[in-house]
Symmetry: C3
Subunit: 649 residues, 3 copies
């Protein structure tokens, strides 16, 4: 561990049966020994609560603790994260073990952080949860059943409930699938149950020493939990990053996706440094293909996290297990390997780099740009029957808009619609189908106050109950953008109208760009037309508009367009707004520059996500490359996956 | 409504909870008001019974009413058409509400038609249905279990039943899947249960005024219900047409499929005018892709229905709902839209056209040609294990044979094997795998009496119990066609033998035509060989034969061939039989002409299903184009999706 | 039957309900009659026990006999092989009927063989089986729960059991899927239950006449049963061969797969002649596509079985049934057909050929080469989470290595890792992931004693409990092969490094060969490098090695390579080892020669699996072609699917 400069260790994830082999009989000796060993070596401990995997004896004694699937069948004991969110018995068992841990280790000098449970996720459909869901709905609608019927438009298909007890948890294969409002509520309910479960865990931990910080490991854009609801209760935010989990070799866009998720994590923590809580030093056994990392890639992926705000690189796992589900998962020390392995050497390289970057710790990032990705909205879009039955590509659209900024080296925050907009110069809110009460007004204020707001097709169709707006789609934003949206045309792949931006158009972008699947028919009320449809049956109708409002600007892109459009258009927009680029010289394709600012220094991370060498001119300000310790003079050459970290003087 | 010339309204589909919020407490005030409003505006009402969606309170009080799926698990309340066909409780509840409706509105002057339930469909696997199925089987086999065992050949795999009580409903994932005869019976049983359910609904309605006509909305070639069993109990036949429900933009063949289904509907009603009971003025939210209709297409689709015999164009739906499953479904008035929308204008265009076509109402169509599509046969083919495991393409084969007639403007009826053949010159009965008792004899009489009968590979293999004929496949028809069929070769896509028709062959068709998947080895007993297999291991063996019998002709096509063969072959056959073409001048590809004959006038609908302009020479008889009101002089130009309606003078 | 020279008949498969229509009331008259008829015609009988399909009355009376699926839902009565392996009631019922059969027919002069049940297969997940599984585990671990926890590494994810009663049968969709050791045990348990079930059946049969031989029909490489565990209890081994069951027309590789399976069957029987217990004279209705056999193919497939050691050709089925699941399945006499059919003629041809081959009966085959395919290993590979989630292609790899020997006319045995190696010159053991205790040592002895052992990537990773070796992957074989394996790189299809064998390399093979998915990084301890990786990030590292040990040789192929490599490499290896080729002249592609040696004669089967004509030079020794009865002089011409059988003088 010293050899790779490892200074902290997570312990006890999934250790319940080792801690409590029989109900109420605790065994801490082994863990005491580990604490002692680590402490005596001057390292710190992150101690997990074991709730992510109850013991088999508990499942047999109290079957209600087991999770029930969407088919309303209780799962047998096995796997992990296999428990009911609601079961009082399980909450009590978790409370007990957590209190025991807190009592025994809460004041241990090596204890640095509580790692609560592990990767909270999944839904439970048991009768306990159904009953809790009914009560949650009753509370949400303040006991007014008629209000719920109205909100969920239950007059359609005779779906009106005449008593709260008639409500079941919706969902395939047996339950209601035609009440999208109710399905959306169940997503929210599950998030609320998880938050409550987490808070109960934390409550037990804090009984003995409330000063130890707590967190849990998030999962990026995982759809089963709205992390904005959990983040306020985390003392530090972190996530588990496995960017190679893909159907093809990871590429530049794959690294952009990792970057976007790091930015989300930083934003969830309010911009504070965060923790990379898990990564693999090698491949992961549950990848579709256990592809090894070529030289340099591991250093790239770890420093990428740091570049976007992480103050840690933690691994799953130090030593590989010989059996069980993840026995092939990458580890710093694989079974039978030692400190001579390729992987150990990669990890050492990261350890050395982190050592030399110690001054970066605590530094932060601020962004001119925010991209709005909203969980409620994602759920509503996924649940919508139409405009296509397949993937509506909300997340892909977010990533499409992120990539040009990432490549340009412009820092981006990732926000929900409940976040403040005012601190940004530009907010991108594509496909914001579900618009909560107040968002339209806050957008208006943002634009009038000087902000630039860009949105797209499939925005502002429905309210928070997934009721379409009585005024029609986009009606809440019609005045702000100066347009009326009549209808959306979903296109077959064979159908490819274009959007044409004329020579000398706004934004300096011109040409014809193929529409990819979605095109809206728009009427201009009071806006400039930036682009129009090319030859098609609604050819010459407006497709992209812009309206100056107050000190700001409202831009509408009515059709789904590709990177050929997004790249020049968003770059031109960034230039016109004078958005701060992190690097003052041009950057080649595949190279991004991220920036962290400390009390005394400013750091630039120059990263080459492409598999070919790249060269950058030196920055205007004098700088030292920290990893090598040398001043930058004649520019910087980055090999494939190469990283340079500059401290600006 | 006046603006689009709407003159009638369907009410009350799925309105049960609005009518009966508590058991036995009815609320009709709101419906009274709607009746009054519509009546006072001079419009008519089609009133639905609400059985397609029971209230949630009823499902809670009487769980037996809920449908049970093939996995024998009772569904939770939700969605629609979610009830058991057998439950006595549900039948009683439906009877009560129907009687209430009949009592209150049965004599209302605005009431024009009862719309019973909605799109009857699906199967129930509950124990009540299982018991009813056992009783149905017992009745069908007159209490003779041994007769059933023989009919279902249960000695195979030791499947013999020794008591009626041993029978379960067959089917995946848990039940018997290897007794095709029994599976076929369950299809028939379900149709019988649905017909009984419908007739019980009608009985309740007729208690108060038996003179109001009744119907229900059918679903074309939907496989879950044999509409020939229900049609005798409908005073007028109708169906819900959504032809754009496809994986790719609709094309000429797609419109031919719509035409075929319209012809089926007309045939189900015995040739009388029928009702287009639902169509979408725009897209439908459950389409794979909500593609908008380009200009003209909506008028085309509605007049196409009229051309094939409909006397109505009804919409689902007038006004879009703001929530629920179909909130994006096309409507005459979409949420937030008004009479200025594109869709409203399309509907107005249809309304105007229908106005000018009022003389067409009541006119009918007669056909020289019938295509035989049989539900029993479709079920048996689908259920057969072999000759391929994939789609055996029965429906596609029907459509293949329909298209040449449709393109030639030759009217076609669609019949079952229980219909009369005698009124036709030509009957096409491809892939008639299941041959009922008597069909062979009726075919012989038809041919001897002067009819031409064409059939194909995979015909007359099994009797109504799906027992293969003791004399071998095709044996019941061997004498009539003068051939013996030895075996069928199912071909992989890589295998492409040809069928060769020599120069100067019968029908004037010559050349080599690729076989598509199925080829039979045939022995000629007493027939002319029209075509033979080309180079292959059974090359030079006969593939297509013809035999003159009495005054008629029996034609056999032993291999599956494509449009390259069907088009010239069937056209040549039509010419040789002097079948009446609806238009006396040639019609370009993609253009069809359909004909309706009234008491005083004859109407020709010229329709261009292609997306390019078409030109037709004028008809020989003087004619007026009704939509424009102008006489036809120098021919007719149809834009893409253009329609002209000629009244022949 | 005489016409096709049929001399024996299998009776009574699935006849239970015909034999016992009511519990305990047996009906043997009809079977007596059939016995009498067959016996009086001088033919012999193979009598089946009926356990593969219990009567419906039994399922109703004793539901516990029905099989329960992985979803823990008991199946309804239907289909076949639908019973629980454990149910005491079912075992008792089977015992009773078997004893009845044995008592009545056990001494009948026509009885030749007991055919026990039919195609044993499938798993049961009922509570009776779960309880038996717990007891089986307890016995396996000698009551030591801690030993089982250690073996299954249950400390991972808190999976430790603290009581045997906590164990459920693992598996989707509800059970444990993350304990691969336990999943593997369930596979073994099922094999043990089937063997016990079989032995109980046999015990009942032997009560009345222990001298009648017994067997059951195996299914080749079927994965649900380890046939090596059952084979010791079979007096003669046999299998059901349906080689055309494919997604595309059968090709040379398809026939090689049939040959491999025949070789497995022969090896299971210790090299003794075996029985082809079922084949189809025509197509099989459950094939994806019921493709007919072109002329010659049927004779080819039946003589191929004989060439690889079968002493019989038995058909399913003599006469087609008119109903039930398999009414389209090929039969010697199809419904409505007679002795004039194409199929009947094909069967006659086989009958004549077998007649002329009577001297072949009893002859055997010995092989210099063995390929090791191991069921435990196949289960462990299938169950492994990684190195890819898709098909890891174990069986395909076996076939890849078999094909070059088959094409070269070199006889091959197929063995498990528990078989003796010493009798072979060359053992191929690719992908032997799971290495049992003792196998490494036995391999060392084999090589030191003069054997050549070839293995590959993904070998010797885990012990019999699926625990990875503490010394790392391949560690048990590291010394023998003189290499250390560090890690495996799973490659995406886009990634194609090469393995390069330099000019003048060992084995006379040179060039660059594309890696197909798996490549290992290897360190040479004490071995020659035969091939290395080409340009890649681990380019120039060793990929193929060879080490001379004692009198033998240990060859390692570290990457998955294709036929372009396997064919020259294995041929070169065969040549260098002077392995006996069955034919002394060269054979064209697609032609194989197999050899059987009798007491007095030696027979060569020359078979052309390709669809084009092939010519072979005559053998050096004088020979007679038996089917034609003519001496071989100027060489042999084989049409497509042609077979010649030479008796060497």
């Amino acid at each position: 561990m010293d050899e790779v400069r490892m200074n902290s260790t997570t312990l006890g994830v999934f250790a319940w049966t080792e801690l409590e082999r029989e109900e109420g009989k605790y065994r801490f000796d082994w863990l005491d020994d580990v604490f002692e060993l680590i402490n005596s070596n001057g390292k710190r401990i992150i101690l997990a609560t074991p709730s992510a995997a109850p013991p088999a004896w508990m499942s047999r004694a109290y079957p209600e603790i087991l999770r029930t699937g969407p088919d309303r069948v209780r799962r047998l004991h096995g796997n992990r994260v296999n428990f009911c969110w609601t079961s009082p018995v399980y909450r009590e068992k978790v409370r007990s073990i957590n209190e025991q841990l807190a009592k025994r280790y809460g004041h241990h000098p090596a204890l640095m952080l509580w790692h609560v449970s592990n990767e909270y996720g999944g839904e439970c459909f048991c009768e306990l949860c159904a009953q809790a869901f009914r009560e949650w709905l009753k509370a949400r609608f303040e006991g007014n059943l008629e209000a719920m019927n109205q909100a969920h438009w239950t007059r359609f298909w005779s779906h009106r409930y005449t008593d709260w007890s008639q409500i079941d948890i919706p969902g395939n294969p047996y339950g209601e699938t035609a009440n999208q409002g109710l399905s959306l509520e169940f997503k929210r309910f599950t998030t609320d149950q998880i938050v409550a479960f987490y808070r109960a865990e934390v409550g037990a931990l804090r009984k003995h020493n409330a000063s130890v910080p707590v967190t849990t490991n998030l999962m990026g854009f995982y759809g089963g939990l709205d992390p904005w609801k959990l983040a306020p209760y985390l003392d530090v935010v972190g996530w588990d990053s496995y960017p190679q989990f893909r159907d093809q070799p990871i590429d530049v866009r794959g690294w952009a996706k990792a970057a976007l998720t790091h930015d989300l994590t930083r934003s969830l923590g309010g911009g504070k440094p965060w923790l990379l809580m898990e990564c693999s030093p090698s491949s992961s056994n549950w990848y579709p293909v256990m592809n090894l990392k070529p030289p340099g890639m591991h250093l790239f992926e770890t420093l990428q996290a740091v570049a976007h705000g992480s103050d840690s690189v933690l691994y799953f796992q130090w030593r590989q297990s010989r059996g069980g589900q993840e026995k092939f998962h990458g580890a710093v020390v694989a079974t039978g390997q030692d400190n001579t392995s390729r992987v150990f050497s990669d990890v050492s390289q990261t350890g050395s780099a982190l050592d030399s970057l110690s001054a970066v710790a605590g530094s932060t990032t601020t962004s001119d740009v925010a991209i709005l990705y909203d969980w409620d909205n994602a759920w509503a879009i996924d649940g919508a029957c139409g405009p296509v039955q397949g993937n509506k590509r909300y997340f892909e659209t977010i990533l499409d808009q992120y990539v040009p900024f990432w490549e340009a080296g412009i820092s981006v925050d990732v926000i929900s619609q409940e976040c403040e907009f005012g601190q940004y110069r530009l907010v991108l809110a594509p496909m914001l189908y579900l618009l909560r009460d107040g968002t339209a007004e806050r957008m208006r204020q943002f634009v009038e106050g000087g902000g630039v707001l860009l949105t797209t097709y499939m925005t502002a169709w429905a309210d928070e109950h997934d009721l379409t707006f009585a005024g029609g789609i986009f009606s809440p934003l019609a005045e702000l953008f100066g347009i009326r949206v009549e209808e959306l045309d979903a296109l077959y792949p064979e159908q490819k109208p274009c959007v044409v931006l004329p020579r000398g158009s706004h934004f300096g972008v011109e040409g014809a760009f193929e529409v990819l699947g979605f095109a809206e028919r728009i009427h201009v009320l009071d806006a400039e037309v930036v682009g129009s449809y090319g030859k098609f049956w609604y050819g010459e109708e407006p497709a992209i508009t812009r309206r100056f409002v107050g000190k700001g600007e409202a831009i509408y892109v009515g059709a789904r367009l590709g990177h050929d459009f997004n790249e020049p258009f968003l770059n031109s927009l960034a230039a016109s707004l004078n958005l701060r680029r992190n690097y003052d010289a041009p950057t080649p394709a595949g190279v991004t520059v991220q920036r962290r600012v400390g009390r005394e220094s400013e750091f630039l991370f120059l990263m080459n996500a492409a598999d070919k060498q790249a060269h950058l001119a030196p920055p205007e300000r004098p700088a030292v490359e920290i990893l090598s310790g040398k001043p930058v003079s004649h520019g910087i050459t980055l090999p494939p996956y190469g990283v340079a970290v500059l401290r600006l003087e």
